[in-house]
């Protein structure tokens, strides 16, 4: 039962262009959505989050959009840079009284080409 899905395993974008990574979820109880970036042989690094009551959050080159009715979120990176090449994980948070529990998607490998 995969509650968070990233249907594109890979994406290739030219440097300077926009990268759009997509994520779908099924559980309406998720209260926050997050994006993580992962380089090989390293742990995931937190990138940006959005509350379920908002539809957009921006941080520099990174913007996350949330469409609750479609249960869909996306991460936009503008402009894309070669250093952005990594695996991006979408995650959704559910509050469990004393802690949050993150459920991850399977990741999208982004390659930014020169």
């Amino acid at each position: 039962d995969q509650q968070v899905k990233q249907n594109s395993p890979s994406l290739s974008v030219q440097e300077g262009r926009i990268s759009i990574l997509n994520c779908d979820y099924t559980n309406s109880m998720f209260d926050y959505f997050l994006w993580y970036k992962k380089y090989p042989a390293e742990g995931p690094t937190f990138l940006i989050s959005i509350s379920s009551i908002k539809d957009k959050n921006e941080d520099g080159r990174f913007t996350v959009f949330l469409n609750k009715s479609a249960k869909h979120l996306s991460l936009h990176i503008v402009p894309s840079q070669p250093g952005d090449s990594a695996v991006y994980f979408c995650a959704a948070s559910a509050w469990l009284v004393t802690a949050s529990k993150l459920t991850f998607g399977t990741g999208t490998r982004l390659q930014v080409t020169l």
């Binding site: 209260d31 926050y32 997050l34 742990g43 937190f46 509350s51 994980f89 509050w95 802690a99």
Partner: protein, 114 residues
């Protein structure tokens, strides 16, 4: 000074052995987690501890036993290792609070059971 450190980084062992993975965080966070990334790159929560107390225990074989001697440490002990236990295990920590706090992950322990 590493925020979340795991040891060892690589672990190769034979079936049937017992092994431990150690995790320490110096961020002052209240909550620590163990995640498993399997061969399909799926990151799935195993356990969560809040200030030494177990709060999340997913459907994990009881051969896996977490131990938290204090809130800065969360170790994972695995008995009678099986081939299917081969994976990358990530430790993470977060402040107590809502899910918009990004987890801080360690760099992972790649366990190979032969």
């Amino acid at each position: 000074d590493t925020a979340v450190s795991q040891t060892p980084k690589y672990l190769v062992t034979q079936m049937g052995n017992d092994k431990s993975i150690k995790c320490e965080q110096n961020l002052g966070h209240d909550t620590m987690y163990w995640y498993k990334q399997d061969s399909k790159k799926f990151l799935k929560i195993m356990f969560s501890y809040n200030n030494k107390e177990l709060i999340i225990n997913e459907t994990v074989p009881n051969r896996f036993s977490p131990k938290s001697p204090d809130k800065a440490h969360l170790n994972l002990h695995i008995n009678s290792l099986e081939l299917g236990d081969s994976a990358v295990y990530f430790c993470a920590s977060s402040p107590l609070g809502q899910g918009d706090y990004g987890y801080t992950f360690g760099s992972g322990t790649r366990l190979t059971v032969v």
